[in-house]
Symmetry: C2
Subunit: 450 residues, 2 copies
């Protein structure tokens, strides 16, 4: 697995295929519209960020079945040969609209909209949710960490505890998208062109019989390195870095020390004082160790002299919000709006568009409307795939997406930038037209269910 | 990505490679022992389950670098040509010990132990943690769901919200390992030989103008199917299933109805009464919709007439415990025990073994000791790889591992089977020899740090 591209149509819940076969048997081949959205913000979040769409589109474009995979399906004994042959030549040839990666999104706003014959739109459901849900969670968490760091550098570090190797790559990408300066994951660096960072772990120090010897050896090989100073005792580690600087004189070019445990704020103050007193004002302080956005914000607020943060596990698994109620729902079939009733959740039928208004450089209001209505504001959903082939907006470079994400964070209204829940949530209205459509459909369904 | 096998040495944190280069430059090629363990149980857990080792070993055996990957490393400008050439011919040729997949484990017990020249043992760190951490979390969560279901069937359903496609496959495998009867994920079914389940989603019902028409069409194609009855109104849906049975007479072979929203306990009672009154005693009730182990246990305790549970998101992301403080630590190098000091966490140096004692068919006590000491009880760590090649214990069939996991759950002491925290945690002792080793090393380190 050199990259994260899924090419197999078998990455799906079985029911997508059983439904597909039924649609075919019933001659149901009309266009369907499915939309991916989430129902509400987690209590800890003022906004979410859309991500993962570029990977999704690449997968959808490449989706198919090997002979081996077809044999497996045949062996399930649930599909007739004719249907299997159709699946074998499956190619998604539909249309996809999506909000650009890095866009701020709110409940009920479609992140992705698929318009295709129902079989094609249905069989990609599992993949659509899987490939957008987690990257969006990770991007949202990364956005909070980057906001909390208030201009200090953030490096993503969470590969080991991400949920699998693919998740590790996606976290690295989502973090960089939202403003992290890089990742520790080398394969992510290669796969996405993200800067990679890393020098030494505790094991390196421990493998040497003496910490000072380890520092000297490492700095000899990598003169401009970061030395990890907390293996035995943080101030003692800093003292050895200072001793090394005296020993090396002009040849000392160590760039930073890393603190990875203990009271990072107090240790950073102490380390800064020691380094400055030794004339090592240029040696930066890098802090890591179980950090999340709240700890980063507290360190920044306390004025801790920390120049860069390494953020790992809690970012990589989106610890406080490891899942979101994100769903891919049929909203239209054969030209008619569709909706589920039983859950009584406020979902809206029909194909939509999101219109966002700005004032003084800040986003101030979204309107969710029918896709074909006229509303003020920027339309968030753009066409990214047509006839199953990616359009330019579906092949956006990560650097370009990162510029967009940066602008999105800049346009975020002040109360939403806070880590704490905003007193007044962002305003998202439903257009009167869409509201009327929903009410008409509710009446029709109530009549037909009776 | 037809399977989850990682073959690239680039799936690593950069520092593993910078350290490797330093070790080489310093001529440090002595054997090292690294151990993978976790530091403490999450408050919600009475035990954890080890999983993921089989996938890890397959990856380690296959690990290498493509020319393309080597070029990328060269481009980083941090590695001399000689080192790059060595990396290109890298092959892990060390020894690995591990507890069998499905084994119950406790804090400080090594799940995996790697014995190899330090470069080899070091560069696989990120992969070892990544490939065992998440499957172990998923297996532990699945064990709780299976225990809560108390003999009713559990089907894993969480692919769409797992953290990526690889995570989805690993959740399916971990769930089946711990006693789920299958998964909804077709690729997991093919990759691991797991039974797959699934019939229809709400979109299928909604795409039809009438629920009764949808039921009739689907049952016509799949006579022994499960019909989803909650799209508009659950009792109304059940009524339509009953009407269909009257219409089809002897040809009615629908096996189950699925409830996916609302008060599942009350709706199951109502559905059971309606089905029984209609003579459909053989139609089973399948429940799903945001379930976790606590909700499953509550439904079971209330006597809800539910025959099988579909469990998705909360299992797939290990919602309450999305990460564990699991680490891969150097414990020995060049024959000498090693340990980090700064965190003051109770870790133990030196190569270990875990000895487990049983009484009356239950596990009663573990002793963590030195690997070469004699202790009563079963040794949990077994050799699984030698010379970089998997041994039979490193190529265990999933079905065989599932039998082992089942036996492990049977041998779990009663208080630990509860979802609530046990009043008295399981007893894990550290052998006096290992304790003495730790104290001696602490004294030596304190002396050398001073």
């Amino acid at each position: 697995m050199g990259n994260t591209l899924v090419r197999s149509l078998l990455f799906t819940d079985l029911y997508e295929l059983t439904m597909a076969r039924a649609y075919e048997a019933e001659g149901m081949d009309q266009p369907a519209v499915f939309e991916l959205f989430f129902r509400k913000l987690p209590p800890e979040r003022n906004f979410m960020v859309a991500a993962g769409v570029q990977d999704l589109l690449a997968s959808v474009e490449a989706l198919g079945l090997s002979d081996d995979e077809l044999d497996y399906l045949r062996g399930l004994g649930q599909f007739p040969e004719l249907f299997l042959r159709r699946l074998k030549s499956f190619r998604f040839a539909g249309e996809v609209w999506a909000v650009p990666e890095g866009t701020i999104v709110f409940p009920n706003e479609p992140l992705v909209q698929v318009v295709a014959p129902i079989v094609e739109a249905q069989v990609i459901e599992t993949l659509v949710v899987n490939l957008v849900h987690f990257p969006s969670l990770a991007a949202s968490k990364a956005a909070r960490v980057v906001l909390a760091a208030a201009g200090r550098e953030v490096i993503e570090f969470g590969s080991r505890r991400a949920h699998g190797t693919g998740a590790a790559l996606r976290v690295a990408r989502a973090s960089y998208l939202m403003g992290a300066v890089g990742t520790s994951n080398v394969l992510a660096g290669k796969s996405y062109g993200i800067p990679v960072f890393g020098t030494m772990a505790h094991s390196y120090i421990e493998a040497h019989d003496d910490e000072a010897v380890a520092f000297e050896a490492f700095a000899g090989i990598y003169p401009e390195t970061t030395l990890l100073v907390d293996t035995y005792d943080t101030p003692g580690g800093v003292r050895k870095v200072i001793e090394l600087s005296r020993q090396l004189g002009g040849r000392f070019r160590v760039r930073a020390v890393r603190l990875d445990s203990g009271d990072l704020g107090a240790l950073a103050v102490q380390a800064r004082q020691m380094l400055d007193a030794a004339g090592l004002n240029g040696v930066r302080i890098f802090a890591s160790g179980g950090l999340d956005e709240h700890e980063v914000a507290a360190l920044v607020a306390a004025g801790a002299p920390i120049d860069a943060f390494g953020v790992g596990t809690k970012l990589a698994v989106s610890e406080d919000v490891p899942s979101l109620d994100m769903a891919y729902k049929l909203v239209e079939y054969a030209g008619r709006p569709r909706m589920k009733l039983s859950s009584r959740k406020a979902t809206y039928p029909g194909r939509k568009q999101v219109f966002r208004s700005f004032e003084g450089g800040s986003m101030v209001r979204d309107v969710i409307g029918r896709h074909d209505e006229a509303q003020d504001g920027e339309s968030l959903l753009l066409p990214v795939m047509r006839g199953g082939v990616r359009l330019p907006a579906g092949r956006v470079d990560l650097e370009e997406a990162r510029v967009h994400a940066h602008r999105e964070l800049e346009r975020l209204p002040e109360p939403l930038r806070s880590l704490a829940p905003a007193e007044v949530p962002y305003r998202v209205d439903v257009s009167p037209t869409l509201q009327a459509d929903r009410e008409a459909l509710l009446r029709a369904l109530a009549a037909s269910v009776r």
